[in-house]
């Protein structure tokens, strides 16, 4: 889950750029409209200079360290390469063929899928109920909000180490279960392949439910109270109000949250790598595409292969993101008054 996707939904839409602007778009220093030769030559040149100076540094850094590597990744994906010297062993789509034939990759992909689905299924109901409960203007609300957000800001490394220690077979969780008499539930939380993925989901949910609650709370707070008040006057019960008014209006927020959750689930690396390390992940049933990439790319020195995996990850994310935007988010950006989207 990365904050970096924070504005993803509104941005994919690209209307943000041309967004609402008042009084036409006439800027004082001259527009570059195709018809207008209004600006004097000097002002136009000056404007270009300002644009270059202001946006130059950012563009240079961004292209060098983000765009360029990604393009390189695509390039290296066609080679078999040790990571130093020029890439000479061209294998075309050979890496990609290996990727899709490798059962370990398919397992990792499956795990990512499970994580995506379970994250949504587990976190959504709990977070919604909590958000609805906490939406009342009661005393102590801000304290509660702060406290449930704490797991989110702790780095995944720390979360991984802490939980890793707690979930060990002779660790605190098992001990706690015993001391309250639930000793029958002791388990190999981390090493048993049948259980490990659930342990992972437990940790992920622990870390990110607070985030979901905060997002939902923000969405709830933008729903005008008059609506629920009017419904209450008309005799609707609390839960009826929630079901028919609040939840539908919370739709856009939920869809954004789901988008962030999916993207985060696809990119999951730190937690799994910390807890299960590079090797155990595949045998404990918790490998992800990212851990697979690191294990088979960097650790084993096949940088060409690792790049190919990265490109596959990117393409999968892109397809999912575009599909999601087209079919799910389009409803939010089209507006309620325009014709129904197919």
């Amino acid at each position: 889950m990365s904050e970096k996707s924070a504005g993803a939904a509104s941005v994919l839409d690209e209307k943000t750029l041309t967004g609402t602007r008042k009084v036409g778009d006439i800027a004082p220093n001259g527009a570059s409209s195709p018809t207008g030769r209004r600006p004097r030559r000097g002002a136009d040149w000056r404007k270009r200079l300002e644009i270059t100076v202001l946006s130059g540094p950012a563009i240079v850094v961004f292209v060098s360290f983000v765009i360029f590597p990604v393009v390189l990744a695509a390039y290296y994906g066609f080679f078999r390469w040790k990571g130093y010297g020029p890439a000479t062993d061209f294998v075309g789509l050979g890496n990609y063929a290996i990727i899709f034939a490798d059962s370990a990759f398919r397992e990792a992909l499956l795990h990512n899928g499970i994580i995506i689905v379970l994250s949504l299924v587990i976190q959504f109901p709990i977070a919604i109920v909590l958000a609805l409960l906490l939406n009342q203007k009661i005393r102590g609300r801000s304290v509660i909000r702060v406290l449930i957000f704490v797991p989110y800001i702790i780095s995944e490394v720390i979360v991984g180490i802490g939980w890793g220690l707690m979930l060990q077979t002779n660790g605190a969780v098992n001990d706690l279960l015993e001391s309250v008499g639930l000793g029958a539930f002791r388990a190999d939380w981390l090493s048993d392949p049948k259980i490990a993925i659930w342990s992972l989901m437990l940790i992920i949910s622990w870390k990110y439910i607070g985030f979901a609650v905060i997002l939902f709370l923000a969405g709830l707070q933008s729903i005008p109270e008059e609506l629920s008040e009017a419904a209450a006057i008309d005799g609707a019960s609390y839960w009826q109000i929630q079901r028919n008014i609040t939840l539908p209006l919370l739709g856009p927020t939920v869809r954004i949250w789901a988008f962030l959750s999916i993207i985060g689930s696809l990119q999951l690396f730190d937690l799994v790598f910390i807890i299960w390390g590079q090797y155990i992940a595949s045998t404990a049933g918790t490998s992800t595409m990212a851990t697979y990439m690191v294990a088979n790319g960097r650790t084993s020195g096949n940088f060409g292969y690792g790049s190919a995996v990265a490109v596959v990850m990117f393409l999968i994310s892109l397809v999912i993101a575009l599909t999601y935007q087209r079919y799910v988010l389009r409803r939010d950006t089209a507006g309620a008054l325009t014709e129904r989207q197919k």
Partner: protein
């Protein structure tokens, strides 16, 4: 919303109970880590989920007096601060251009940065590692800072552009009537006005940088150059038998993030609120 003069009433006991349970679940593990550091290994082995008896300070003291720990905190601080400054300054400049100039290619420039959201670090890391190596920046903080600035730009720009667009044109016109150039306008008016957006993006950039693990993992090889997450993990695997020490180290490394969070909690949550509302 905060200023409404509503007398806040107490909620129902059920609500508080549920909230309490939830908070206990959230904070329980955190407390486990913190308290665990006050025990020694024999205590932990004998009774993994128990309380310290007696309370031992030496684990925490060992960490606090270890130069590696402070070095790593120093490294993380340098990296996070520089990244944040870089992201904010560069991001603000570009956002200003995108928000208030009209020129062909503006849409393309915006899409360029927006597309950056689709490229997580995991995708770019392998060639990035090679690029950094070729630039001779391996095992240096600069090798971590520069890419982090690059990757932090998309979110920053996406947050700042609507922000800057919201500054009324009238202010800009008034400034130009008063003889200020576009750049002058930028420095003297836009920058102060954009402080709230800058604070939010700065916080996001700082937190992301502070917690970042994958990039430093690839770039930094010397323990003395490690940032804190790397240090925590290295310590944990090196002293894996010494559980108590690991817990102490881990809990001490949580503290900067927690302090930072308590200081800026309103901004962080508010910033997310803003992103949700669009």
């Amino acid at each position: 919303m905060r200023g409404t003069r509503e007398r806040q009433k107490w909620g129902s006991p059920a609500t508080y109970f549920i909230a309490f349970v939830f908070i206990a679940l959230c904070l329980g593990p955190v407390l486990y880590i913190v308290i665990g550091g006050f025990r020694d290994n024999s205590q932990i082995t004998a009774s993994p989920a128990g309380f310290p008896s007696p309370w031992r300070l030496d684990n925490y003291l060992n960490v606090l007096t270890s130069p590696t720990f402070w070095q790593q905190i120093g490294n993380s601080t340098i990296v996070a601060l520089t990244t944040t400054i870089g992201v904010v300054v560069l991001g603000l400049m570009v956002s200003f251009v995108l928000a208030r100039y009209k020129f062909t290619g503006r849409g393309a420039m915006y899409s360029l940065f927006a597309a950056g959201l689709m490229f997580p670090m995991t995708v770019a890391i392998t060639p990035l590692y090679i690029l950094i190596k070729d630039l001779g920046l391996m095992n240096s903080l600069a090798g971590v800072i520069l890419p982090q600035i690059g990757f932090g730009l998309p979110v920053t720009i996406i947050i700042l552009v609507p922000f800057l667009k919201a500054i009324p044109d009238e202010i800009e016109e008034a400034a130009s009537i008063d003889g200020a150039s576009r750049l002058g306008f930028f420095f003297r008016m836009v920058v102060p006005l954009s402080v709230p957006g800058v604070v939010t993006t700065g916080i996001l950039a700082f937190v992301a940088s502070w917690n970042s693990y994958l990039l430093p993992l690839f770039i930094l090889s010397d323990q003395s150059m490690y940032t804190l997450p790397l240090g925590v993990q290295a310590f944990a695997s090196q002293y894996s038998v010494n559980t108590a020490s690991v817990l102490a180290f881990t809990s001490l490394s949580m503290i900067p993030a927690l302090i930072f969070f308590t200081l800026f909690e309103r901004r962080i949550v508010g910033g997310l609120t803003g992103a949700v509302k669009g």
